[in-house]
Symmetry: C3
Subunit: 404 residues, 3 copies
Amino acid sequence: MGAAKSSCQGFLHYAFDYETAKTLVVPSIAAGVVFRFTQLLILLYLVGYVCIVQKAYQDTDSVVSTVTTKVKGYAVIKGSANTSSPQFRDVADYVIPPQGDKSFFVVTNMIVTTNQKVSHCPEIPKPSTLCNQDSQCTTGLEDLRGNGVRTGRCVNYSDTVQTCQVLSWCPLEEDTGPNKEALIDAAENFTLLIKNSVTYPKFNFHRRNIMPHINSSYLKTCVFNSSTDPHCPIFRLKQIVSDAGEEFQVMAVEGGVLGILIDWTCDLDLWASQCLPKYSFRRLDDNNNSRVLAPGYNFRFAKYYKSPEGTESRTLIKAYGIRFEVIVFGTAGKFSMLPTLVNLGSTLTFLSLVPTVSDWFLLTFTKKRGFYSKHKTTHLRDEDEEDEDENKQSMSMGTSYGTQ
Amino acid sequence: MGAAKSSCQGFLHYAFDYETAKTLVVPSIAAGVVFRFTQLLILLYLVGYVCIVQKAYQDTDSVVSTVTTKVKGYAVIKGSANTSSPQFRDVADYVIPPQGDKSFFVVTNMIVTTNQKVSHCPEIPKPSTLCNQDSQCTTGLEDLRGNGVRTGRCVNYSDTVQTCQVLSWCPLEEDTGPNKEALIDAAENFTLLIKNSVTYPKFNFHRRNIMPHINSSYLKTCVFNSSTDPHCPIFRLKQIVSDAGEEFQVMAVEGGVLGILIDWTCDLDLWASQCLPKYSFRRLDDNNNSRVLAPGYNFRFAKYYKSPEGTESRTLIKAYGIRFEVIVFGTAGKFSMLPTLVNLGSTLTFLSLVPTVSDWFLLTFTKKRGFYSKHKTTHLRDEDEEDEDENKQSMSMGTSYGTQ
Amino acid sequence: MGAAKSSCQGFLHYAFDYETAKTLVVPSIAAGVVFRFTQLLILLYLVGYVCIVQKAYQDTDSVVSTVTTKVKGYAVIKGSANTSSPQFRDVADYVIPPQGDKSFFVVTNMIVTTNQKVSHCPEIPKPSTLCNQDSQCTTGLEDLRGNGVRTGRCVNYSDTVQTCQVLSWCPLEEDTGPNKEALIDAAENFTLLIKNSVTYPKFNFHRRNIMPHINSSYLKTCVFNSSTDPHCPIFRLKQIVSDAGEEFQVMAVEGGVLGILIDWTCDLDLWASQCLPKYSFRRLDDNNNSRVLAPGYNFRFAKYYKSPEGTESRTLIKAYGIRFEVIVFGTAGKFSMLPTLVNLGSTLTFLSLVPTVSDWFLLTFTKKRGFYSKHKTTHLRDEDEEDEDENKQSMSMGTSYGTQ
């Protein structure tokens, strides 16, 4: 029994004897201050920078969002108001595509070519299309910078100019650039309603840009203003463009791309109720027109008609305008165990370096460094072992002497 | 030679002598148990939480995806079936835009205003448009909440009511709200095929939602059901809406936005073959109609016609319906060296704190703490140095005595 | 005064006495080499892998981007060139949607059904629609795989075949699959201009794919080629498809989805000027047509016409073609304090494990391990305390003896 107990205890001692470092308490207030001060610095870094500034105790998620838009307003095309056939445009005419996507285009200027039919007509005059005789117009040539397939004939474009005839939608569009003043200049007064719903899937957090606490009668009359009405979801197009640092009437001539950025960066720990959208505006295309390929923003589309006899014709519209892009971005943070422990662990590592620094200070800069060093560090020399061996021998000899 | 060898050895000793901490083995099983138990706890946290729960050994990447959709089905407009001019709608009529984007709109209800021409007509009666005489209608006034530019005349809207005349697309749309029952109620039986291809660029991992192992004859007849057919890519619109917790016929009246969320969260280490899409459905707009600005979802678009004489007319359609948004999200994880080492390192830091805890336990709670403390810690006092100095002096004196 | 000064010093000593580990310098060059070598390995890992390879000192951000596209080119429909009514298509006809989105569709093949009117006509013959008498055609049956609502009559489809009559857009589309050769085969020569503007919001970094340093006369004539012109933003459709490993004329028949991937992965510390887009191309839909549901890519849309009498007709177009998707992705990294310190901290943890490894080496593999162990580790035994107590007693006794 006693042996069993003893061997059990022996095992316990073998497995659980506790090995701890021997330490020396040095009465150096200087070293102590350095030690505590370095520790304090690291703790301040941990609390101040890691926790408060970087919020490194949080897990993060990226926003998933949906946007619907609705433009309102109408316009009479410039110069047509007092003519016999005034031209009127409303939302169904100038918003493309019509379905209220997060990216939509508002026509502000255009070149309209009516009653085009697939037939033969002379090319627009330019060096490569001018001709004097049919042999200069290769039949079937498809010049990608031209407007159609050459028929091989050279015909009168005007009384003085002859160009190659092409098969195309005729008459050809005469693209002499956009009107110098935007035709739909009233577009600056159009209003835009943005509905934005966001989700942070990891945190199961949903929110809309039209907050429940906002008064619905306020919503019916408000207009966004970054300083006075920062949460009104209704924007005036002119205001958007000017907040982006551009002038509407200038941008309306050649068109452009305008970003409406909605920032949903949120801290979901304490301030979930303060998770509000921040709107900002920025021109996204290059407005340095002098050196840019295809400056501005425009595209061509057509409306198709059929005559009672069944021949198809179209109205080709080269539309210049502003494309608005609602771009939603943001990152939400919420307390999570793993990043907290990872960042805590990394910071604590620096704490474990403090003794190294303090020791270096103690053994380098204090007055009594020699004295401290002697007690802190034992220098073992190889000769010691030999001495010891001799000692042992002498001791054992001595012992043997003693027992003699 | 000997000197060179000796100075070389001196350098080696200087550079490579190994400084190690002096330790004390304490036969306190209690402290040993605390030490091992705390180590065990941290290892369990490392293995259990960091590795298994959080998979912190993985690098992550966000999904890049493409979606194409295809709706099928046709409908006779409610109430028109038995009339002389039944109205029939198929995919080309009610899906906007038609090209099978990840966001598309299905018309379920509408207000149609046919044969609009740009001309003069009386405004829709409301307080701001009623008039008795021309002077009440300012010429050229562009009221953004009105429908057109005022001509300055006050004309008969009906036998009893006079309103200001405007230049607009006439006749004006009489927007008295959507029909109380959806006109295209058969839309609930339409089917939707979703093709989704995803990529995790960092891991060069590609996958489609139509898995190669799925039988193609099954695909031709299946309909998605979250419990019985969770991987069928064909959805019935009614099922989608009801899975989102809404009723189709109710939502169809005023319209709304419905998210089809595809979650591709995957662990690419072991279970790459188990990387399957998970579908879920959620209404994205605010369905609390009573307090919402512009509830539901609708937009206006027009079809343009030209008479043989060349005058343009249009049919304006205010379309109510459900906008479906396929939202693909997900994060894939795969083993990577860096996060593994970072997380391992951070955890090991906590291991290095275990001795501090155990020492505190040893010197505070064990019975023999005084005895352990005495052997573990040497208190150096400033007086010691003086004593020592004296000793040295006395010794040197003693020595000098001895040599006397 | 002296007492106050002394108690103050006592407090300072209590608060700031510095506790440091006692160490032993072992003259074992082997252990020293192991120690230094392990430290070196970890420093190499820190510098080489963590800093240089993984750039773990950087904070990262995901790209936010805008894309506009513009297709140029025209085509005569195959086989129509020498007929009396040649068919010509330009951008306004074959790009859907027209507004230059990042996702657009180029029609390459089609089935056109002209002059459809809502009326009654016989179903397309297939087993479920064939009939001999009216009773086989249930009135009002809406077979979702059929083309319209049955009227209950069985009528002649041709001289020999009778099918159920339906209410639908008549005549029905005869969908016998796409033409075996693409009708708009010239589409391979169309060019595509991509304008892409990217932002890394966290770093306030903006850039465009058309770099300021690129010559504008070069831009007007260049065509993208992955080896010779990797920064030209103008692409030939054929080149895009062939770079994706497909053949244009094959893909044009049934259609497909083609991804144009723009990778903006950037290091913004040193090489911000080297932050350039990398283009790559990949087919996104499944091209293994034999087993795929609805292979290729197609959709139906209609053009609407009105006769002078006011009856509406439409031309239904089933368009096959290539949908191009510009997919922008990328992550930018820039030096940041937090990830640097986290990763540094995690690596330093490994440094703090080096003594453990070296000690194990020292006490296991060196020749003089016993000697080193004896000096490094003091084994305290419980009996020591009793001995000590006895000593104390005897000492105190001795002392008492001495005072006697």
